[in-house]
């Protein structure tokens, strides 16, 4: 990729400064689907949660499936981006922001579902630990409350992680527009002037956040898995759940990231920026996670089958031989059967190949969450109380609307912020970027080392500083 900085600015700022009719068309269609979803939720609030298909004993259905699914997708961004930043993978530069945005939006959508699924959604704030005159606090022993804190921590962390590297780009846009946009970007750039001190602060902050966000991301999906694993329900009550869910989350997250990249590449004409090497490398990661996912499923199923405990075996056979067998095999085909050949054979690991594999994985991982939740609940211990579950139009509509909401938020974001981090891309074009640590980027962008030598030493700037002078 040999481009001048001016060309880069022009290419990557085009979606921000120019608006085509297809933008409004996309917003219109997606917005309409979201509105239908809002109507469905309003219908449910008005008539009662009974308009959804849940019953006894399957008290959780589509909504909790969607909750786990979207929280899983949120692992695309911040976690992958943080790991790639810390390992200073050069090919990460055009994709980090795209990934971080997925995290923020899918977390917001995922966090909606526990509220949608409540019997009395209007009392959701009782989960907040606020001081009340009755001296009532939420129950800190409940995994749902752990969820509340974990998701909020992750949301705050990932929003910060997204916004920090956006600031220099906002300043870039600010310099190139007029009128109300000038005022908007003036506000969004938060007083960025590009001074040495500002670059140094940004670097230190990104470095600290990249390290901090990894344990937070792992904890979030572990706690989501404990919503299930803490209860004595057959096949839920399992020690494998936390790592199994974290692996599944990263798996579906990478797939979502690849799909987003393919769509952006096509519609924003980013062919020269999102090169095949990104997809090749992400494809390898996806292959690794696919195998890891299958390893967990195999380990779980084998131990349950060999253990032959009556209540667990009832659930196992329901998914292997019973009513859910088609969904089970669909899941295996989508998560292993399709991705494995597409990603393992180098000739097939193209942009199209990884995209097809990713679509299959996203579908397969949704089915996986459904198969974790519903069959276990429908075959609990006393056979007399066994039951089944069938979703209604309300649940299906709300589910479809969240996918539209995700796309709509993404389209809107791309309109306001350049989806490829321009300053990071420019830094990466320097020869030195390949050998230097991730923490010394201000050197490369032409700014001298930090105001304080202590900070410089701490983040490893000293070495490069000396090398240059």
């Amino acid at each position: 990729m040999k481009k001048t900085p001016d060309q880069i600015n022009q290419d990557l700022l085009r979606p921000v400064v120019q608006t085509s009719p297809s933008f409004f068309l996309a917003c219109g269609i997606l917005g309409a689907v979201v509105l239908v979803g809002c109507y469905a939720w309003g219908y449910q609030l008005y008539h009662g949660i009974g308009v959804a298909g849940i019953g006894r004993p399957v008290f959780w259905g589509f909504y909790i499936t969607n909750f786990v699914f979207w929280i899983g997708i949120s692992h695309a961004g911040t976690l992958i981006s943080a790991i790639l930043r810390l390992s200073n993978a050069g090919w990460r530069r055009p994709i980090t922001r795209c990934a971080e945005v997925i995290t923020v939006f899918s977390l917001c959508i995922g966090a909606m579902f526990p509220l949608i699924h409540l019997g009395r959604s209007w009392l959701f704030f009782w989960l907040f630990p606020y001081p009340s005159e009755r001296g009532l606090w939420p129950n800190y022993r409940s995994p749902l409350l752990w969820d509340f804190f974990a998701i909020n921590t992750y949301l705050i962390g990932s929003v910060t992680f997204l916004i920090l590297p956006i600031i220099p780009d906002m300043a870039l846009v600010r310099e190139r527009c007029t009128g109300w946009r000038k005022r908007l970007y003036n506000f969004l750039s938060l007083g960025w002037r590009g001074t040495r001190r500002q670059w140094a602060c940004l670097e230190v902050a990104m470095h600290i956040l990249a390290i901090l966000i990894i344990p937070v991301a792992v904890s979030v999906h572990s706690i989501v898995s404990w919503d299930f694993a803490m209860t004595p329900v057959p096949l839920w009550h399992s020690t494998i759940f936390a790592p199994y869910f974290v692996a599944g989350a990263i798996f579906s997250g990478i797939a979502a990231l690849i799909i987003a990249l393919v769509v952006l590449r096509r519609f924003l004409h980013l062919e020269e920026y999102l090169e095949p090497v990104c997809f090749d490398n992400l494809g390898k990661l996806l292959l690794l996670m696919s195998l890891l996912w299958f390893y967990f499923v195999f380990a779980e199923r084998l131990t349950v089958w060999y253990g032959n405990e009556s209540s667990e075996i009832a659930v196992l056979w329901l998914t292997q031989r019973g009513a859910y067998r088609w969904l089970f095999w669909l899941m295996v085909v989508c998560n292993l059967g399709i991705p494995f050949p597409l990603l393992a054979i180098r000739k097939l690991r193209t942009i199209t190949g990884t995209c097809i594999a990713s679509i299959a994985v996203v579908l397969g991982m949704w089915v996986e969450r459904y198969l974790i939740i519903v069959p276990s609940l429908s075959r609990k211990f006393l056979p007399y109380a066994w039951g089944s579950y069938k979703p209604t139009w309300v649940e299906i509509t709300i589910t479809a609307a969240t996918f539209a909401a995700m796309a709509l938020l993404y389209v809107g974001f791309v309109k306001v912020v350049p989806i490829i981090s321009i300053w990071e891309l420019k830094v990466g074009m320097r020869e030195e970027a390949r050998i230097l640590s991730a923490a010394s980027e201000s050197e490369l962008i032409g700014v001298r080392s930090t105001a304080s030598p202590q900070i410089a030493e701490r983040i490893g700037l000293e070495r490069t500083y000396q090398a240059k002078t």
Binding site: H47, G50, G55, G119, N139, S142, L144, F381, Y384
Partner: protein
């Protein structure tokens, strides 16, 4: 001394008449949901008589087993509630605070006996049943979990009564609706802290066992049933 309420269910006496189910309904203002909703598994009945068949036709033996909240000492439903709507009261009952429930339905998933019931819609009573609502029991709104309370309204009334008359509460004057109505006397209710009570005596019986005892929930309900070992012995 504090009471610790418990129950014994003599399966050898149960005829499966389901009078307890009806009595519970009348006492506790349990709404009917209609055939279509019942088919979706939304019928509310705090006590149910499970029917299990043994043997091949025509030599079929039917076994009846009334199942209701086991009032576990180690209840899986309690710690999972984020708002303390389901909690352990001082007398060891698994209480459900309707006002505090926001309807996560987590407790119902955690309950291994599947004896928690959810109000999917606001309750309605077909006429003239609306005239027989029990004024001592609150009516539950949409989105709220409910379950067997051991007729806590009767327990509280008896305790207040005994307190006013400055005497010890004796369990024979106190019965939940299901126990009161059980013609073959298969259900026995009482204070487990009183070693002389009939329920304590029955809980010590060799015929006794706990439902799903292997899960470690420590239920306060004992099921009595003659088994082969006992038959040989007797």
């Amino acid at each position: 001394m504090a009471h610790r309420w418990g129950m014994a269910v003599d399966l050898d006496r149960c005829t499966g008449c389901e009078a307890c189910v009806i009595a519970c309904r009348a006492e506790n203002n349990i709404p009917t949901v209609g055939e279509q909703q019942a088919r979706m598994g939304r019928a509310l009945h705090w006590i149910r008589v499970e029917r299990y068949y043994e043997g091949e036709f025509p030599d079929v033996k039917v076994k009846f087993q009334p199942v209701f909240c086991q009032q576990c000492d180690n209840a899986p439903c309690e710690p999972v509630c984020p708002t303390y709507a389901s909690y352990h009261n001082a007398e060891g009952l698994n209480a459900q605070v309707y006002n505090r429930c926001i309807g996560t339905r987590y407790c119902a998933n955690a309950c291994p006996y599947t004896v928690r019931f959810f109000n999917f819609f606001n309750p309605v009573w077909d006429r003239p049943f609306h005239l027989q609502l029990n004024p001592d029991v609150s009516v539950r709104q949409v989105g709220v979990m409910e379950k067997c309370t051991f007729c806590v309204q009767r327990i509280k009334a008896a305790e207040i009564h005994a307190h006013e008359e400055k005497r010890e509460l004796k369990d024979e004057v106190l019965q939940p609706a299901c126990v009161q109505t059980c013609a073959p006397k298969a259900l026995v209710f009482g204070d487990l802290n009183d070693p002389e009570s009939e329920v304590s005596r029955l809980q010590r019986s060799r015929r006794g066992s706990k439902l799903l005892a292997e899960l470690g929930t420590k239920p306060k309900v004992t099921y009595l049933q003659r088994d082969q070992w006992n038959e040989k012995d007797a």
